[in-house]
């Protein structure tokens, strides 16, 4: 009875709009043109995407025009403000007027699969020309997106992650080589903290490493201070035998916390790591306050370098391979393109929108570098004080912020999982330091553990994570011992919640 009442009330305001949306607004309606594979060519595709695609003020219209020219299909892009993307996405879904395709983070991907909002693209992918072409250089990434044997989303590029950068000049000033194990790493931090790595004649006015938080707020959590965490993981992960465990309760984490505590008390780690924002860390790095910074691989290497040079400092950075004990950097799980169940012609959308992105030719160039003449060019000219010869591929000056040069469109060329049929036209324009750091990362990384949600997880993991992070802060910065910290974990219910979540994960 009550249920009926609630439903009626809701119907008044909400269901109406849901229903209105179900009717669709004429997208992919009448004229059904089929291609040679018997797949209906869509007439119009509506796409929802965050700020990782060129924005309106950066020539999105040119992008759409070029896309339509290449396919003959109408494209509508809905691009909410980057910071509010998931709020707006949630509302749009609730309003019932769903886009055909949307870009989803790993959490939203699994969430929408659970709610049965995504189209099962397993068959489309398995039988696709793209898969058969052999140009996918990282099929493992797609395999990892399968949920219970089905694929609902497709990633065009790896998720990237953080790599450790060391200032070359600081190493030289201290007479050190790139560290290869934890002992050498600590030796380096000690020299950077107590010696005079910046050569200003004052000992001890610098420190080793800084981070935005001792532990990250989102997956993969332990990526900002990897040398200390090493093989420890602070959250839930699936072991090789398929069972789940909470990394926080394992000895590896206790040892990691002891390492962090010792280093923090020795002054190797920025005293303010608890309260730093990532921009604070960057600013301090540019001001030569510290010498070791674990940050995003790829484009960011160039950004760090440029900012150091702007400050009149030696800008050479070494992206170091993971130290022995660490073994591999953690790679973030990628964002995926998913087709909604409201899409009227999912096969067509998969083929012409998603699969097409990695066609190894013009379309891939469009998604990777943008539009010729707007975002890139091969003409002889000077862009932002760089001179290019005729035929030399280069990125153009940004429309939105003059004085800066575009780096890419949606797909990062260094992270793309699809090879070009011929050569990547833009391969040579990528800055050397960006390429180097990216190669080191790509060769030395493992994919971060995936998460599943269970009732227990959504009930307890919020409090559990808060407690864990608070204990980490207490141990590292407030003088609490590791034993006391873990005692607190027991006393305040953490161990119990952790066990409940592990059990629920193992049950499924």
């Amino acid at each position: 009875m009550k249920k009926k009442l609630i439903c009626t009330m809701l119907a008044g305001v909400m269901a109406a709009s849901v229903l209105a949306g179900c009717g669709g607004d004429g997208k992919t309606a009448a004229g059904t043109v089929k291609d040679e594979d018997g797949i209906t060519i869509p007439e119009k595709i509506t796409v929802m995407v965050d700020g990782t695609l060129v924005t309106k003020s950066n020539g999105q219209q040119e992008f759409i025009d070029r896309w339509e020219e290449l396919t003959g299909i109408e494209l509508e892009i809905i691009q909410p403000d980057h910071s509010a993307y998931y709020d707006v996405l949630g509302q749009t879904i609730a309003s019932g007027d769903w886009p055909d395709v949307m870009l989803l983070s790993p959490t939203y991907y699994t969430g929408y699969v659970e709610e049965e909002a995504l189209w099962d693209m397993t068959e489309a992918w398995e039988n696709s020309e793209l898969k058969a072409s052999g140009r996918i250089n990282n099929e493992e990434l797609i395999d990892n997106l399968y949920i219970d044997g089905h694929l609902y989303g497709f990633a065009t590029a790896r998720g990237n992650g953080c790599v450790t950068y060391v200032k070359k000049k600081w190493l030289d000033n201290c007479g050190l080589d790139v560290p290869t194990n934890y002992e050498e790493y600590i030796e380096m931090l000690d020299a950077f903290t107590n010696g005079d790595p910046d050569g200003n004649g004052v000992n001890g006015d610098t420190y080793g490493v800084s981070a935005a938080g001792l532990i990250g707020v989102e997956e993969p959590y332990v990526n900002y201070l990897p040398e200390f965490y090493q093989d420890a993981y602070s959250s839930f992960y699936q072991k090789e035998d398929g069972t789940w465990a909470d990394g926080f309760t394992e000895d590896s984490m206790k040892e990691a916390l002891q390492r962090l505590k010792d280093a923090y008390e020795a002054g190797y780690i920025d005293k303010e790591s608890l309260t730093n924002a990532t921009s604070d860390c960057r600013t301090k790095f540019y001001e030569d306050k510290f010498g070791v910074f674990t940050y995003w691989a790829g484009t960011w290497a160039t950004n760090l370098k440029t900012n150091l040079a702007n400050n009149g400092l030696d800008s050479e950075l070494v992206a170091i391979p993971p130290i022995e004990e660490l073994g591999a950097y953690l790679e973030r799980r990628p964002a995926v393109w998913a087709i909604t169940t409201q899409c009227e012609n999912p096969e067509g959308v998969f083929k012409y929108f998603i699969e097409n992105m990695l066609d190894g030719g013009d379309m891939q160039t469009l998604w990777t570098y943008g539009v010729e003449g707007t975002h890139w060019s091969t003409a002889a000219e000077t862009v932002c004080e760089n001179t290019y010869e005729e035929g030399e591929f280069h990125m153009l000056e940004s429309l939105e912020s003059p004085g800066t040069q575009y780096t890419k469109n949606n797909i990062d060329p260094m992270l793309s999982i699809g090879d070009y049929i011929d050569a990547d036209p833009g391969a040579n324009q990528i800055a050397e330091e960006a390429r180097e750091s990216q190669e080191i990362f790509n060769e030395n990384s493992t994919l971060a553990p995936s998460v599943k949600s269970t009732d227990e997880m959504s009930q307890f993991n919020g409090d559990l994570t808060t407690l864990k992070n608070s204990i980490i802060a207490d141990i590292v910065t407030q003088g609490m011992s590791v034993e006391e910290g873990y005692q607190r974990f027991e006393d305040e219910g953490g161990a119990e919640w952790s066990q409940k979540i592990v059990d629920s994960l193992n049950e499924e």
């Binding site: 809701l10 305001v13 938080g213 608890l274 309260t275 998460v451 997880m457 959504s458 919020g462």
Partner: protein
Amino acid sequence: MKKTKSANAAVAAPKSTLKNMQKYKGFYLMFIPVLMFTVAFHYLPLAGISLAFTEYRGVKAPEFVGLDNFVRMFEAPGFWTAFLNTLKLSVVKLLLNTLMAVVISLLLNEIKNMAFKKTTQTIIYLPHFMSWVVTVSVFSLILSPSQDGLVNTLLVNAGILEQGQEIYFMGSKDWWTSIFYIINVWKDTGWGTIIFLATLSGISPELYEAATMDGGTRWHKIRYITLPALSNTIITVLILNLAKVMNLFESVFVMQNDAVIQQADVLQTYIYTQTFNSGALPNYGYTTAVGIVKSLVGCVLVLVCNQISKKIRGRGII
């Protein structure tokens, strides 16, 4: 006024109400636009309150779950800490900010040099235009325990602290709450004076002149003219703000960190972390339930204070 011909005794009372309403016809008409906007943007969405009794993630139709969301909320381990923190931080902040705003308004009112007064007024409004993120990042720097921290350097130079004893204000359980109030006073007090200054400017100068003639001191004038004129506004501002007491979010969110979470976790940040770490899509039913609890707290506070105000001053705020 001219109507009411049939004077039937039995329906006299409603008739007089009707007559009365007729008299106020113009006012009802004037209220229509206000009512229209209120209904459109406040009452229509209010139907969504029923979501609180459902599980709803925005995809499938809401599923009725009774009081589950409320039970889950009240049983959540950190709920009551966050609840009490919110009340404490929010109410103290409100009282402090209002008190400071009143004092500053009164003092500003005493400044005779117009140019100085105008300049000061402009300056104290400026912090309102800085976002919380920027404000907190600048304050973190000023309060930094490193040699860049202005406050610690001053304390060391003044001999209050010894070198190496610098205080990590933002990451200290003992200091965080006070720092929170200070930054809030810095950011909001100036803007808060606007409404008091406007009230003060409405006080007739003759009242002051008369008091001066009677030999009243400056304190007398403040005590017997200015403060009574302000009291109504102060009470109104206080009670109105009580309605939103549980909404504290952004200022705390950008200031909190893992070391001070027990002092700094408020209801909104708590719910945020809970949702964020659940590994699932946000359950709008749950957030709506939290919203209802917040509103009920605001409602109780407003009604109680309104009642007190009625007892003491003979009228409420609305």
